[in-house]
Amino acid sequence: MRSHLIGALALAVLLGLPALAQEKPPEKPPEPAAPVTQTTPPATAPAAASATPAEPAALPACSDCHADQAKAFAANAHAHGQIKKGEVPNALCESCHGDGKAHIEGGGDKEKIFKPAGLLGSNKTCMSCHDISNDRISRHAGMHANSAVVNCLTCHSIHSSEAHAPHLLAKKQLTLCDSCHMTQVSSFRNKPYAHRIGRGGMECSSCHEPHGRPGAASLRTTSAGELPCLGCHADKRGPFVFQHGAIAVGDCMTCHEPHGSSNPKRLKRSTVSQLCLECHSPISGTTLGSQPPSFHNLTLARYQNCTTCHVAIHGSNRDPQLLK
């Protein structure tokens, strides 16, 4: 398998080499003008923004007709550094909507203005500035990479975002995620033991990076690169002298369900002893931790709850049997 992967890697490089030798084929020129980016100081702003003084005086302002949008847009992060004398300049609108001259001259003809929507709209507007990639995030090739199914404008709304949601989200986060990830959201809403998602404090994005890469990279990590669970549950980080192998070799999800659970403490099993004995059973001696516990009569309530005595189940600095 490893050789196949190395082969695939080599193939990727080989396929990429011809691409390196030629220029990127020109894309169809986007309808919108060069975007006004937040990343550029006003002194070096793109042509569209700096062209404002040269705007033909005969053209009315976009805000003459779109007063509500213009008023609301003044508080939008995309207007940063672009508002002139309380007015939203046409160039700012045109950075996403393209040249508005024909639209204005056509008496507001909706067919003569670019209205960013879907995949095309996302690619031609949002991604011209926000195509960010790092080791965990890729807005280009990540989990929610721009496609016809899901794209920037599926979740974000520039002009009518949810009032209480940051980052110009179109709706509250839980509602947005629910439209695709129904089973996960259902477990939060319905199961008795769940993180308080959407009820103040936590959101899906507290643990998940919505622009993340596939697999484990879609989880947010702590500053030190650990699982997001440890960002809040700092006491579980250890290190402990007597570390529970389930954590040191596995992770929190070895025993816990991260979303909602039907079992107390968000455990994977309803009875504690059941969870423990599934690993600690000496039937075959080839797996880690499968030594038997001492004599424990599981017919008694005491022994059905291993953590009655093994209270320091995540790890202990004092007791090898995790009794304190």
């Binding site: 992967l5 396929l15 690619n123 103040g200 006491d235 002298v241 599934e278 039937i283 880690l288």
Partner: protein
């Protein structure tokens, strides 16, 4: 939180915010403040464990977003504050962002979460006697505060500093197994975690990245003492003719952990088509602990074949966790919508620790006829775990090929673990230490098609492993997901269905692990007019898990069977017209599995803006929980909220 403190602490926030934004050009402002009442019938412990909303004053919502992009306010040109459930809510948050173009970005966050647990049946050895709640309870509050300041954002080099504080404190109850009995202890916990970080983002031509250096410090203190009236322990009767009782138990544990860390990534746009991304994370956590314990009473120890009337113990411990992770990833952009992806990631973690434990057993007497055990193995312990993970991956992302999107990836993960336990941990030699290897091959495919409001997506993931490390590790795992949806152009009608299935198994002799998870969900939304919105959903899940276990009381082999078989039905309506709005929903969750229960939830929220900028909101939330196998845990909780709305 009492009302005086509430007013003093939290009403200052909006006042500050208003002052901050006094010169602002645009001030969207939305405040909802009021009182919530709780009517609770049934088990308080279970209610507070699950929901924990209490009577009290509440800033339900507060949002203020200002902008001043023309320099009226020299301090900030953008300011936003969001508050949620501040006051008597079990989960409260405040988030603030302020910035000035090309000068700084400041983010502040505060979160408070109540962690309450008093479960009747969980880890409760006395449940059969009808004694509830259990002996493991906690009533804690975690307060987290973050601040990040970035200077000169969007310049070639943008330095930043940040600070995080995480405090967890509160009382609780726990048990302590001592002298062949367990005793109820009162507990007081205070944990304090601080993190300071500094670094810089950089952007030079086609290379960008970020370097963060941080320092984390954890301080934990746990004080325990024998709970009032708990001296007889949980076990009645004598052990070998001797009573086991405690007249006093006190223990104080302190833990210090210092963790410097480095986090770095760099992205290089090598050509128009090739992007390389490198990352490196390293941290080294050093833990030191101390314990002082003093116990008096009448105890028995089989481990050292003694009766004893007291124990004094002191322990010092130290442990280290050295971890680093590094990787390289490449993205080759074949066409604007097709990328080839490949990456390699390696993580190495070394944990080791030792503890010096000094025990003095007061007035101890050997059992007659038993050999005295060597307690040296208990006095000093050295453990080590060495873990290496490598992941090699290659894939293709064709995210927009007409109406289709597709992503495929193959991955190989290799995990090598070496465990070196202290002898004292070995109950029966074998399986407690050694070297374990596990290699997992993964094929992950998913695709979607969309056209005219219709969407169909499917995902398949197959994992195969050559060996388990734990008994519950799979050798083979298959995940399937199908999703379909349809929406009319003006959102008059929307429907979606999802089906997920995960099977994992390990047929190794003596394990026989088999787990199946099936989840099906469907939802429908209808908006016959813009103001009226109906929604309904149905979801069903079934989980079956089976694995061979050995019962320790008689060493017979049996099956551990876990079943969950539940369904959820939800329905709701919302109506918004002029100054009125109403949003109502009903849901019922029913689980017929190993731990059967029902949950009924009713929610109604109505708002009425009696003036242009002011109004009222009323809320009713009802949660009824009942466990069909018993009544200890049942509750029926209704919360009523009345809030004043102000949107100037």
């Amino acid at each position: 939180m009492n009302m005086k403190r509430f007013v003093a602490n939290w009403l200052s926030l909006p006042i500050l915010a208003i002052a901050f934004a006094a010169n602002a050009q645009v001030v969207p402002f939305d405040l909802e403040i009021g009182y919530r009442w709780l009517d609770l019938k049934g088990d308080t412990g279970m209610y507070r464990t699950q929901i924990n909303e209490r009577d009290g004053l509440l800033i339900h919502n507060f949002t203020l977003a200002t902008s001043d992009f023309e320099g009226h306010n020299s301090l900030t040109d953008r300011f936003r504050i969001d508050v949620s459930d501040l006051g008597s809510g079990p989960a409260q948050s405040v988030r603030m962002e302020a910035s000035r173009a090309n000068a700084y970005k400041l983010r502040l966050g505060y979160r408070s979460t109540d962690a309450f647990s008093a479960l009747p049946a969980f880890a409760n050895p006395l449940f059969d006697q009808g004694i509830v709640p259990g002996q493991h309870t906690e009533d804690r509050r975690r307060r987290m505060f973050d601040v990040d300041l970035e200077l000169l954002p969007d310049r070639a080099i943008a330095p930043f500093i940040g600070f995080t504080s995480n405090d967890n404190r509160g009382p609780g109850q726990t048990t302590y197994h001592l002298g062949q009995d367990e005793f109820l202890l009162s507990q007081d916990l205070h944990e304090r975690d601080r993190e300071i970080r500094a670094g810089a983002s950089f952007h030079f031509a086609s290379i960008s990245g970020q370097l963060t250096q941080g320092w984390r410090s954890f301080r934990g203190t746990e004080s325990l003492s024998l709970a009032s009236g708990a001296g007889n322990g949980n076990e009645p009767g004598n052990v070998l003719g001797q009573p086991v009782t405690a007249t006093s138990i006190t223990r104080t544990d302190q833990t210090h952990v210092d963790t410097p860390f480095t986090n770095f990534f760099v992205t290089g746009q090598m050509t128009d088509r090739v992007r390389l991304i490198g990352n490196y994370v390293r941290f080294s956590a050093d833990s030191s602990g101390s314990e002082a314990e003093s116990s008096a009473g009448s105890f028995t120890s089989f481990a050292i074949s003694r009766f004893f009337t007291g124990l004094t113990e002191s322990a010092t411990s130290s442990a280290k966790n050295k971890t680093w992770r590094g990787g390289l990833r490449t993205e080759v952009n074949l066409t604007p919508h097709i990328d080839l992806l490949a990456g390699y990631q390696r993580e190495k973690r070394e944990l080791d620790g030792s503890a010096l434990i000094n025990d003095v057993f007061l007035q101890s007497i050997l059992f007659s006829g038993f050999d005295r055990k060597d307690i040296a193995t208990v006095l000093q312990a050295t453990n080590g775990i060495d873990r290496t993970d490598e992941v090699l991956s290659a894939g293709i992302s064709a995210h927009a090929v007409g109406p289709f999107s597709f992503r495929g990836e193959v991955r190989e993960s290799q995990q090598d673990v070496t465990v070196s336990p202290d002898l004292s941990e070995i109950v029966v030699p074998g399986s407690q230490s050694g070297t374990f290897d596990r290699r997992i091959h993964t094929v992950d495919l998913n695709g979607a098609y969309t056209h005219s409001g219709f969407m169909l997506g499917a995902a398949v993931k197959h994992d195969s492993a050559d060996a388990p490390i734990f008994r519950t590790d799979y050798r083979g795992r298959n995940r399937y997901r199908v999703r379909a949806g349809w929406m009319t152009p003006k959102k008059l009608f929307r429907a979606g269905v999802t089906a997920e299935r995960t099977n994992q198994s390990n047929d190794d002799p003596g394990i026989g692990y088999d787990s199946k998870l099936r989840q099906y969900s469907g939802e429908i939304e209808v908006s016959p007019i813009e103001a009226l919105h109906f929604r309904g959903s149905l979801s069903q899940f079934r989980a079956d898990s089976n694995i061979s276990i050995r019962f320790p009381q008689n060493f017979t082999i049996g099956q551990s069977v876990q079943t969950e078989d539940g369904n959820a039905r939800e329905g709701g309506v919302s109506y918004l017209k002029g100054p009125f709005s109403i949003d109502a929903s009903l849901s019922r969750f029913h689980n017929r599995g190993t731990l059967p229960f029902n949950i009924d939830r009713h929610k109604v929220r109505a708002t009425w803006d009696f003036k242009n900028k002011t109004g009222l909101a009323a809320e009713l939330d009802r949660d009824k929980y009942d466990e069909t196998s018993g009544f200890f845990s049942d509750f029926n909780a209704t919360r009523y909220g009345l809030y004043f709305r102000w949107r100037p």
